[in-house]
């Protein structure tokens, strides 16, 4: 992997404030490394977005925080305990990606059942109201649209009045309107003091909701920061060219966020193109095939995370 990503310094936090944390967490499935030395901390009352493309390891991380998978090495703690400890679940709610939910039970029945698992659940009417399910409560799950299903799963995740909520891609497959509605509901939870870990592969979703964003790529945290910090890096320009410069020389140029090279063809992610191009031409007057493109938000984000599996050599 010939990509270098500029490091945003980790912000130090007092350890006792962490609701969940991992240290050097590594997990492999066969020959696939799902997570590699992941260190992160979820602070009380914040909404942390775990941002990354499919296969980056987001779901694996959530599953380990839920105690549904064991680490190969490293540590994971939720409420200062091993998440495989059953008691942790009384304080946790989870909205996971699920292919199929029993379809012949009504929304109200699902919520009634899950509420019974928790010692101090929300009143069912309250859960239905928060999740926007009042009009759907007597519908069978199988009769719901995609957005309604997600809301029902959201209702199931909050009905126990948990302190910590895991939302694994809650808006995947939703249309714009349904997504906005879900965002409103998630914001409402955070304003009630809940701690939320949200995974998403939409930068605009993380931007709209999160206090902090972790960018995960190939099982490694490649960036961490506030939405504006992450965005300022993602909204940049892409610069492509051919040059005899080495990758290290190109990386050293101020303003270069990421750099990848395949033989002599380079591809850079930069904040502003002009100073970088000026510096490049200074250093290599034979530079050719220069191309500057302005990536949109999503494209730029993809460039941040999904770079260049094929560009193995430099």
């Amino acid at each position: 992997m010939s990509t270098v990503i500029a490091q945003i310094p980790h912000v130090a936090t007092p350890p006792h404030r962490g609701v969940a944390r991992t240290r050097n967490l590594t997990k492999t499935y066969g020959s696939v490394v799902a997570l590699r030395n992941v260190d992160f901390e979820l602070r009380r009352g914040e909404l942390l977005a775990l941002l990354g493309p499919n296969g980056a390891g987001k779901t694996t991380l959530v599953r380990m925080l839920l105690g549904q998978a064991s680490p190969d090495s490293g540590r994971v703690a939720v409420f200062d305990a091993d998440p495989r400890n059953e008691d942790m679940r009384y304080r946790v709610g989870a909205m996971l990606q699920v292919a199929r939910v029993p379809e012949t039970l009504k929304v109200r029945e699902h919520i009634d059942l899950f509420s019974s698992y928790y010692p101090k659940p929300l009143p069912i009417a309250e859960t239905l109201r928060i999740a926007g399910l009042e009009d759907l409560k007597d519908r069978r799950f199988g009769e719901l649209s995609g957005g309604q299903r997600q809301r029902a799963l959201f209702g199931i995740s909050i009905c126990g009045n948990p302190d910590l909520l895991f939302l694994d891609e809650p808006t995947v497959g939703l249309d714009v309107e349904a997504r906005r509605l879900m965002w409103t509901q998630i914001r409402d939870l955070v304003s009630r003091g809940k701690t939320v870990l949200l995974t998403t592969h939409y930068l605009n979703e993380a931007d709209a909701l999160a206090d902090r964003i972790l960018v995960l790529q190939h099982g490694t945290i490649v960036a961490e920061g506030t939405p504006s910090e992450i965005k300022s890096r993602a909204i940049g320009k892409q610069v492509r060219f051919s040059s005899r410069l080495t990758l290290d020389e190109v990386r050293a140029i101020p303003g270069v966020l990421t750099a990848a090279a395949n033989r002599q063809k380079f591809e850079l992610q930069v904040q502003a193109a002009e100073p970088v191009v000026r510096e490049l031409l200074n250093r290599d007057s034979w530079l050719s095939d220069l191309e500057v493109t302005s990536a949109g938000l999503e494209e730029a984000f993809l460039a941040l995370t999904q770079n260049h599996h094929s560009n193995g050599s430099n």
Binding site: V98, A99, E109
Partner: protein
């Protein structure tokens, strides 16, 4: 395992005994409700055994009234075993495998649901459906097949067929883990019919070739059907009740052992 265990110092409100009972009751209630509302499940698990019974025992039964009544009584036990076997293999084993494969079990396991409540609910549902099958079969046999059972015999038959959910359910559970979630339904189907035949559920075991009679002893449905036949005084097998029960207990532990080992193997895979 390089992971370190953190001290467990979570303070949670303790669940009272009655709230735990409530969880078990609700879980079972909704499991049954869920199944009753699936037409294909209700039909295939209840109507098919009844249809087979009407066809083989009543319509195609031959001979004089006495032998016809004996056939109707004998097949009450064997086709009853066939019916409840299907309910447990699919309603318990395959159902768990499917919910595991579809991620629903993981959603439930992320909540504080006691896992025992989940399994108990599936078992209670399978037992309820089995009881319905046994009672309907016996009623049809009484009304149209001239089957005459003493109350104790009838109760024994229904009891055996309900209890059969335990060995059959554990067999379905093990098959679900051996076959992996998505291939569980075809694999169970593939095993269900041949195993029923070899256990003497379609043709009485004493009419099958000797080799079948030997093979049948390693098949759980044979032992269930023998206990059911014993309950209604139709068994020709010389083995004691205790030996059938022992075999079934052995099978149950074997299947549960297989399921536990394979569950551990699968831990952390995409399905839990």
């Amino acid at each position: 395992m390089a992971s370190t265990t953190f001290p467990a110092n979570i303070s949670v409100p303790q669940r009272s005994f009655w709230s735990l009972v409530e969880v078990f009751v609700k879980e079972a209630k909704y499991e049954i409700l869920k199944n009753v509302r699936i037409p294909i499940y209700a039909i295939s698990s209840i109507v098919f055994p009844l249809m087979f019974y009407v066809l083989f025992a009543l319509v195609l039964g031959r001979g004089n009234p006495v032998t016809r009544s004996q056939t109707a009584t004998y097949t009450l036990a064997t086709l009853g075993t066939f019916g409840v076997m299907g309910v447990s293999l699919f309603g318990f084993g395959v159902s768990i495998a499917m919910e595991r494969g579809q991620g629903w079990l993981q959603v439930k396991r992320a909540s504080p649901m006691p896992l025992a409540a989940y399994f108990t609910a599936k078992l209670v549902s399978a037992m309820a459906f089995s009881g319905v099958i046994a009672i309907l079969l016996a009623t049809i046999g009484y009304a149209f097949g001239n089957v005459r059972l003493a109350p104790l015999q009838a109760a024994g038959l229904v009891g055996v067929l309900i209890a059969a959910s335990i060995p059959f359910g554990s067999m379905g559970l093990a098959l679900g883990y051996i076959a992996r979630p998505n291939s569980a339904p075809p694999v169970v189907n593939l095993i269900y019919f041949p195993m029923s035949f070899c256990s003497g559920l379609w043709i009485p075991i004493f009419l099958l070739p000797h080799v079948f009679q030997q093979v049948a002893r390693v098949l759980p449905p044979f032992h269930i059907s023998q206990l059911a036949l014993r309950a209604i005084g139709m068994s020709r097998d010389t083995a004691s009740i205790g030996s059938h029960v022992q075999a079934l207990v052995g099978f149950t532990f074997l299947f549960l052992g297989i399921a536990v080992v394979l569950y551990r193997r699968d831990e952390g895979q995409l399905y839990g």
